[in-house]
Amino acid sequence: MADTPVAAAPAPAAAAKPAEKAKIEAPAYREMPGIPALQPGSMALSRPYVANEKIQEALGFHAKLDDDWQVTHDLAIARMGELLGKSRALKVFMDSCVHCGACTDKCHYFLGTADPKNMPVARQELMRSVYRRYFTLPGKLFPGLVGAKDLTREVLDDWYTYFWQCSQCRRCSLYCPYGIDTAEVTMAAHSILDSAGYGQKYSNEIIGKVHRIGNNLGLPGPALINTLEGVEEDVKEDTGVDVRYPLDVHGAEVLLVTPSADFFAEPHIESLIGYGKVFHAAGISWTLSSKASEAGNFGMFIGNYEQLRKIALRVREAALELGVKRIVVGECGHAWRVAYAFWNTLTGIGAGANDPFAIQLQKQLDPNYRQPSHICELTWDLIQQGRLKFDKSANDHRIITFHDSCNVARASRMGDMPGGQFDIPRNIIRAVANHYVEMAPDTIREKTFCCGGGGGVLTDELIDLRLKGALPRMEAIKEVADRDKVNFVAMICAICKAQFTKILPYYGYKMGMAGGVHQLVSTAIVLGQEQ
């Protein structure tokens, strides 16, 4: 059975001494991909930069770790108690784990690093041991017996280290007999760390930028206009057709909210070009918004409801201001989770909210469409209606596989049927290209492996973690690349795209191997008469 540890674990070389500026390289492919033997502490030194006081204060978080440990301790325990009262998931998950071990071989970070604290149950246990000590009777009476621990500086450091080695991908929750979702525990941990003044620089700085400038990348309005004009020129040059990429157009039918990486990063921008061509070909008026120029919502990664809501409300404001009839979300995994599953709760985009703005929005939005819709839902609907034409042979140089992004796969849906989030993107690819191959069944659809860069770890100082976390996914890609000559991995997530673009070369592939589904659409779509 799959229980015997396989000897060939990836070498922990890079993790052991990151301080010495070790040469960063991808872990070796394993001869027999299986469950690695434990290497305790192999990732103990992998930590993201800590947010400075300015970043923390901008979000209303405690500025820094207090010199008096007792203060930090009390802040953390107080926040933990608050969250336990606010979230049934956290409370039930803290109580329910029986240490059965079903999740121990499911996390890509564990498979890639062999650090036992990256086993989902062990990661949860970092918090559960503190929960037991402060919130349960046996933990107060017999801490050693039940594995309860005082919250010490060392414990909190361990939290910071290992709760920032979770990409909140939920693969463990799929396999847990009680549905315990480490992502929920990780989010709570991040929130507690923020409250204690121990925030993560990358995520918190980005959230600050969203509030200050409007998007994660800090692109101000004029830069957006510039970029979009450039895109229009490029598309005109390529196709001879005037495809528009409008910004802040009042009265447009569709507001497209997309990750800001789509505006300038490769290969993201190729998908943005694709969205515009779809709207153009279908004759749908659309607009981007400078206010809501970011679909991503890092409030989720730091487990902060208030931030999650504040960031999401920009979309509602933009929709009301622009008077649009539909809200459509671009290719971004966690953004789609937030939009699909949380927007209705946070902002009343959807049905059922009763505050004045939500009611106004409900009157304004067209009930004949899903609100919000994913761009893939929109494109697939148009394909089914026969409103888009494709020259599939334009993609003949590509042999394509599809990487399911975790937040789309395990935390959202497309279309009306469960599993639409798997079928619709694949249907689109098959409609626009001739050569499509699936990766191994245990690595696709809801069983998909994270790219290794989600959940707020897409930062350079965590490159070692990102490379190792990508190993299970890369092994599946290698298999189809070797066997079927796959040369294009399609995906619908900005973080996945950025992560793959960075790590593919380490694994010996071209960065251009990763791209968007609408990049494929863009290649094959027939725009009608040239002007």
Partner: protein
């Protein structure tokens, strides 16, 4: 001794029922602020009921996860369920025909239960990853359950006790009378461990039993675009904003 056991079982029952009731109340009153079913998830209430049924009866997620843990865990739980049902004959007179019918199965279910427990315990020693995550209480819990199973089987197959008297004792307790319990070391041990299990149930990982029904990733309907979910504290936040 009779009185001691009587008091013990009244106390244990009180702790078990009161404790679990409080936990259920606590889970029920704590809001689930966001829609977080692990997808693909059912889009209707009846679909969710079916999903929970499959989880509780067949351990569906565990089956997809790890066949060894599933097989051993399922063997233990089904064995335990049959054994518990079988024990109802000590608490009812006349005995329901269903309970009478399952008596022979329940007898052998004791072995299944013990075998499952032994296998699960073996994993805690043999599999490195499981050894790493096991706490002393995980081992003690298995020891306790296995002890209960072993003493039970011992009384059934090796050192019989006067089960008519045992039944009179428990029927008596149910009408607040204390009848004599057979003086049998195996029985004393068996009952002592059962009472201990009942007492620790509401403060231990045994809470996975009620917990599975309250797990938002399993019990939520996947319909966030159609139905708005709003926790009372989140609604208060909106009013404040």
């Amino acid at each position: 001794m009779n009185l001691l056991f009587a008091i013990l079982f009244y106390a244990a029952t009180l702790v078990l029922v009161g404790g679990v009731a409080y936990r259920i109340y606590d889970y029920a009153r704590t809001p689930a602020p966001l829609s977080i079913p692990t997808t693909p998830a059912p889009t209707t209430g009846s679909g969710v009921a079916l999903r929970l049924f499959r989880e509780v009866v067949f351990f569906e997620s565990l089956f997809k996860s790890n066949l060894w843990i599933w097989a051993l865990g399922w063997l233990f739980h089904v064995g335990l369920a049959l054994v518990l049902l079988r024990h109802l004959r000590y608490f009812t007179e006349p005995v329901n025909f269903v309970i009478a019918f399952i008596q022979p199965f329940g007898m052998y279910a004791g072995f299944a239960m013990a075998a499952g427990l032994a296998g699960l315990w073996a994993r805690r020693f043999l599999v490195e990853r499981i050894r790493y995550i096991s706490t002393p209480s995980d081992h003690l819990m298995l020891a306790l359950l296995l002890g209960i199973a072993a003493t039970g089987l011992l009384m059934k197959f090796v050192m019989h006790t006067d089960i008519v008297a045992v039944k009179m004792f428990f029927l008596g307790l149910m009408s607040f009378e204390v009848n004599p319990l057979p003086a049998h070391p195996g029985l004393y041990l068996h009952l002592l461990m059962v009472a201990l299990l009942m007492i620790i149930f509401p403060v231990s990982k045994l809470l996975h039993a009620p917990g599975v029904f309250f797990s938002p990733t399993r019990n939520q309907v996947d319909n966030p675009r159609e139905t708005r979910r709003l926790a009372p504290w989140a609604a208060a936040l909106e009013r404040k904003a």
